[in-house]
């Protein structure tokens, strides 16, 4: 028994005769069986958001409920794949429909024919609970997929197999306490709007190493933390997000392209299989899942895409991995929310966004965290959430930016002015912040020594002082400054140009280890220290500023990985000597 459409307005369809449907059920609309989701019910009338273009649908078209909420398929075969906002595999759609996406295509997310080698890790008779690992599948050369008991189940294993199976084959049978036998397959389903359960949540205390100097040293993100990257167009949001997806030291990356350019997804699809992970030496695509709802794809599926992405990320987290989910851009998601809200004729909040914008955003980011996974082995996992925000006109006083800033702990503010001057990444060092510095202090002190955080503070001070001194320079010119202040400007410039600036498109420079970052910054501050002493003793300013070692500091970022320690030590030694010479020369004059 099905309902009938009575109204169509863009992606919103209203149907009557839907009394057998549940709130939030997935429904199929019309002859083409377009996929939709119930947003509200009143009597037997259901308001449905349809995830595909609704042209050609009119009153009288039939509507069926599937009886299930919007869910994703979880199991081997997710990695290296690209899905649309409701987890349809885009590569396979291409095989069926060609270069464009036609409507009403129904395809399972995970291949039903592909066979995976299942290795059991428990024996018959073992007592297991939800989240326990019963076997593994080598999904890609870098990733061993763990097959877990679904969260709500527990009991005794009565049968377990070994060999090659499809995701729908039964790999184990479990007898619950009530005596019921349950088949366990590699494929699991989970509703996207419900967070997957875990045992316990922790405060994050390990940094996410991104290899980006301005992020790792100045505004670090913790594994299990949340970050936002707001910025006007052209300020390099996407480059920052791609860099994070490429170089972050996590096991799995879920990249959600939400209402952004099609070519950006294509770029990832073409580049990631070629790029090697600096840690494993294997192609990055083998640890990446892509969700794409490009800006020309239906707007309703955009709303679903970030939930689809984060649910997949949670599944990998539950295996005990570090996972990062990157959403580009949450503003487009919020706009999709606004569009549906408008069509539902809800009372608008600020700038037409629905009043529940803030709570929905908070629900998304709150699914991040460091957790102890379900299961009896006490393994831990983390889920880091990074969201881009695209504020209109770059003005972060708008509702999406403000609602995001209330939740996230790291703010990387991109600045159009820096981008115009081709300072990349264009993260503004004066207004960005990270609240994880406190949590990460112990890690820094033990891994990099106590000097590291001291250097960071000193460097931030230089940049702050530079901003103040620049004001004076603008009024009265550089000549009126004391040599000490002139040195401060020089040092700040070195921090900006020789440390913060990082070219994502140049090998070696695109990724810096923490050790290298610490040494580079230390080198610049050593220069400042030596030069300051020399100036105090009356050395000639020009000679001190013009030493040859400085040009080598400027090129220090492109020193190959296996030589940098040696090269940096040599620069330090030469620098000390050259400053001493400059001082001696100054005295002679």
């Amino acid at each position: 028994m099905g309902g009938k459409v009575i109204k169509v307005s863009g992606p919103l369809v209203v149907a009557v005769g839907m009394s057998d449907a549940n709130m939030a059920d997935v429904v199929k609309v019309g002859e083409q069986r377009l996929t939709g989701e119930i947003l509200s019910m009143s009597g037997d009338r259901a308001a449905i958001q349809v995830y595909e273009e609704t042209s050609g649908i009119g009153p009288g078209a039939e509507v069926f409920t599937t009886g299930n909420p919007l869910s994703v398929e979880l199991g081997p075969g997710l990695l290296g794949n690209i899905f649309d906002g409701i987890q349809r595999p885009l590569e396979e759609i291409r095989g069926i429909a060609g270069e464009t996406i036609s409507r009403g295509i129904e395809l399972p997310a995970l291949s039903r024919t592909k066979r995976w080698a299942f290795e059991p890790v428990v024996a018959v008779g073992t007592r297991v609970e939800g989240g326990d690992i019963i076997g593994t599948v080598q999904e890609t050369s870098v990733f061993k997929h763990k097959i877990m008991v679904p969260p709500s189940l527990s009991g005794t294993i009565t049968e377990i197999k070994q060999g090659e199976f499809t995701v729908e084959d039964v790999v184990a049978v479990l007898k619950t306490d009530s005596g019921e036998s349950v088949d366990i397959k590699m494929l699991q389903r989970w509703p996207v709007r419900v967070g997957r359960p875990y045992k316990k949540k922790f405060v994050p205390d390990r940094p996410l190493q991104s290899g980006q100097r301005v992020i790792d040293t100045f505004f670090p993100l913790a594994k299990g933390g949340t970050a936002a990257v707001p910025g006007p167009f052209g300020s390099g949001k996407t480059v920052v997000q791609h860099a994070l997806a490429k170089w972050s030291d996590v096991d799995i990356v879920v990249y959600i392209g939400c209402g952004e350019r099609g070519n950006e997804k294509t770029d990832v699809l073409m580049e990631f299989p070629e790029l090697k992970d600096p840690r494993t030496g294997e192609p990055l695509m083998k640890r990446t899942v892509l969700i794409a709802n490009t800006s020309d794809m239906p707007v309703a599926a955009r709303e679903a895409s970030i939930y689809t992405g984060i649910t997949i990320a949670e599944y990998f987290r539950d295996m005990g991995h570090d996972v990062a989910v990157i959403a580009d851009s949450t503003s487009r998601w919020a706009e999709a929310l606004r569009e549906m809200s408008g069509r539902l004729e809800e009372m608008p909040g600020e700038e037409g966004y629905p009043a529940y914008l803030g709570s929905r955003l908070a629900q998304f980011y709150e699914r991040a965290g460091c957790i102890e996974c379900l299961g009896s082995d006490g393994r831990q996992g983390s889920l880091t959430a990074i969201g881009a925000v695209s504020p209109p006109g770059g003005d972060t006083s708008e509702p999406v930016s403000q609602a995001t800033l209330r939740i996230v702990k790291v703010f990387w503010g991109l600045d159009a002015k820096l981008a115009y001057a081709r300072h990349f990444p264009a993260i503004n060092w004066l207004n960005s912040y990270s609240l994880y510095l406190v949590n990460l202090r112990d890690w820094y002190n033990s891994a990099l020594g106590e000097q590291f955080l001291k250097n960071r503070t000193a460097a931030m001070n230089f940049l702050q002082q530079e901003a103040e001194l620049q004001e004076i320079v603008k009024l009265v010119g550089q000549d009126s400054l004391s040599p000490q202040d002139r040195l401060t400007l020089e040092t700040a410039r070195m921090i900006r140009e020789d440390f913060l600036q990082q070219n994502a498109f140049v090998d070696i420079d695109n990724f810096s280890t923490y050790d290298r970052q610490a040494r580079m910054l230390d080198m610049i501050l050593q220069y400042d220290k030596l030069a300051r002493e020399a100036l105090k003793e009356g050395a000639d300013m020009k000679a001190v500023f013009g030493i040859e070692a400085r040009t080598r500091i400027a090129r220090a970022k492109s020193v190959p990985e296996d030589e940098y320690i040696e090269v940096y030590d040599r620069i330090l030694a030469d620098m000390a000597e050259q400053i001493a010479n400059a001082k001696a020369g100054g005295e002679e004059l």
């Binding site: 169509v8 291409r94 052209g234 020309d296 498109f505």
Partner: protein, 462 residues
């Protein structure tokens, strides 16, 4: 059998309500027959039970509620396409207006197109030489890119677009080029400028023109860019052509969209534009690109005038979030007589990195590009400082930077409307200008490139 309805209940601006309808579907095309026999087209925006809200594509003048008939045609708005469209002129709805015969369509295509599967896109990476240094050298255009021109009232965006259309070529491939031009709400004179330009250069034979002028109905503008893109898709992906689409002016398109949104009493977003403006623009801009397994491509240059030169206005703002960069014209440079007045610093081509370098342009391209940007930014700062504090307050290096900025604007930017520089010339000119600065300032170029390309200074030669 197609039913005719004589049940128009209401006409208000571009919207019409028809009642007692049956079997009408969303986005369906309909035709209104006036008592005079004239026919006009419209499409269904909303169906609610037996009531359909219909948006007119043409003027509502003369529609009589009692006598006019409405027929719903069972499909959405389509364009008949054929290779014979090249060299022809159409109105904003795709009817020929050059006095020639009707087009015998090879196929009828839905003007809304279908979203392109990101897995089926081919990444644009082939350099297009426009002969304009500021674009080729600094904001490189590649085949399949969408790169808008952000202009202002009174700025010469039309000559620039015409220059690009005239000079653009793909260096590597032997391919057939075509231009699809859509005039959206511009004046007769501006449109005629393009027509004459295309005729003068002989490009008209490989050009398809869609013209909706300022005095044509605003609602027709909703369809015009889509008509043009549909024709472009046909030529690119069915006929293997390299198509350059120029749409001018997107601002008028957005205003037409706002007009309809306001008539529907929708909750307005910023500045009264509908909340779905981003999505709506994206469904057009995203039709540019390349597809795997197809030889053709669509490269798009939409032109828009920024109201009050305000780049944060919703139209340029949302456009910039979708397109792969932007070319911005500067009123300041225009006043100083720099032609074309391209404002280099805020302009950007996002796809440049994939289209330049060894094997595509030249090995030193990326380095010089970054160096020129940085040097020009520093030069502008120095010049600004000079106006406040006087020249004496500047250090020697800053003075050189200021000089660099002047020369850069004069020679590199201000190449004139007729100059067609190939990429070698552009890159060499860049090096010549960089030689104004001391070599120690050239931190962004590789030392081996400095040795190879930097012109030797006169005093050093002595």
């Amino acid at each position: 059998m197609i039913k005719e309805y004589k049940t128009i209940r209401e006409i208000d601006g571009p919207l019409m309500v028809v009642t007692n309808v049956e079997g009408v579907t969303y986005d369906e095309l309909a035709e209104i027959e006036l008592p005079s026999g004239a026919r006009r087209r419209c499409r269904v925006l909303e169906v609610d039970g037996d009531k359909a809200v219909v948006q007119l594509f043409e003027s509502s003048m003369g529609i009589n509620l009692a006598e006019s008939k409405v027929r719903f045609l069972g499909h959405s708005l389509q364009l008949g396409v054929s290779e014979d469209m090249l060299g022809r002129v159409f109105d904003g709805m795709g009817n020929p207006i050059d006095g020639g015969p009707e087009i015998l369509a090879d196929a009828y295509m839905d003007i809304n197109g279908l979203p392109m599967n990101p897995a089926a896109r081919d990444y644009p990476s082939e350099f297009i030489q426009t002969g304009i240094s500021t674009i080729d050298g600094l904001n490189t255009l590649v085949r399949g890119q969408k790169l808008p021109i952000f202009s202002g009232s009174g700025l010469p965006h039309a000559p620039l677009a015409a220059q690009i259309a005239r000079q653009a070529k793909v260096l590597s491939a032997e391919t057939s080029f075509a231009v699809v031009f859509a005039a959206v709400g511009i004046t007769f004179e501006e449109s005629e400028y393009f027509v004459q330009e295309f005729k003068r250069t002989g490009a008209i034979d490989r050009t398809v023109l869609f013209i909706n002028l300022a005095d044509n109905p605003a609602v027709e503008r909703i369809a015009t860019p889509r008509m043009a893109l549909t024709a472009a898709e046909y030529l690119a992906f069915e006929k293997d052509m390299q198509v350059l689409v120029i749409i001018t002016d997107m601002t008028y398109y957005a205003e037409a969209l706002r007009e309809i949104s306001a008539a529907r009493k929708e909750v307005p977003g910023r500045r009264g534009y509908p909340g779905y403006l981003y999505t709506d623009l994206a469904t057009m801009y995203e039709r540019a690109g390349r597809r795997k397994g197809k030889k053709g491509s669509i490269t798009m240059i939409p032109i828009l005038t920024m109201p009050e030169d305000d780049i944060t206005h919703p139209i340029p703002d949302l456009t910039g979030y979708i397109t792969e960069g932007q070319i911005i014209l500067s009123r300041d440079l225009h006043r100083r007589g720099v032609v074309p007045p391209i404002d280099v610093l805020p302009s950007l081509s996002r796809l440049k990195d994939k289209g330049i370098g060894e094997g595509k342009t030249r090995e030193d391209h990326a380095g010089t590009m970054n160096q020129l940007f940085a040097a020009y930014a520093a030069g502008k700062d120095a010049r600004e400082l000079m106006t406040i504090l006087g020249e004496s307050a500047l250090s020697d290096t800053d003075k050189l930077y200021a000089k660099f900025a002047d020369e850069f604007e004069k020679e590199y930017v201000g190449q004139g409307q007729e100059t067609n520089r190939d990429i070698e010339e552009t890159l060499n000119l860049g090096w010549k200008l960089l030689s104004i600065l001391p070599e120690s300032e050239l931190k962004r170029v590789k030392p081996e490139h400095i040795a190879k390309y930097l012109p030797k200074r006169k005093e050093e030669e002595k």
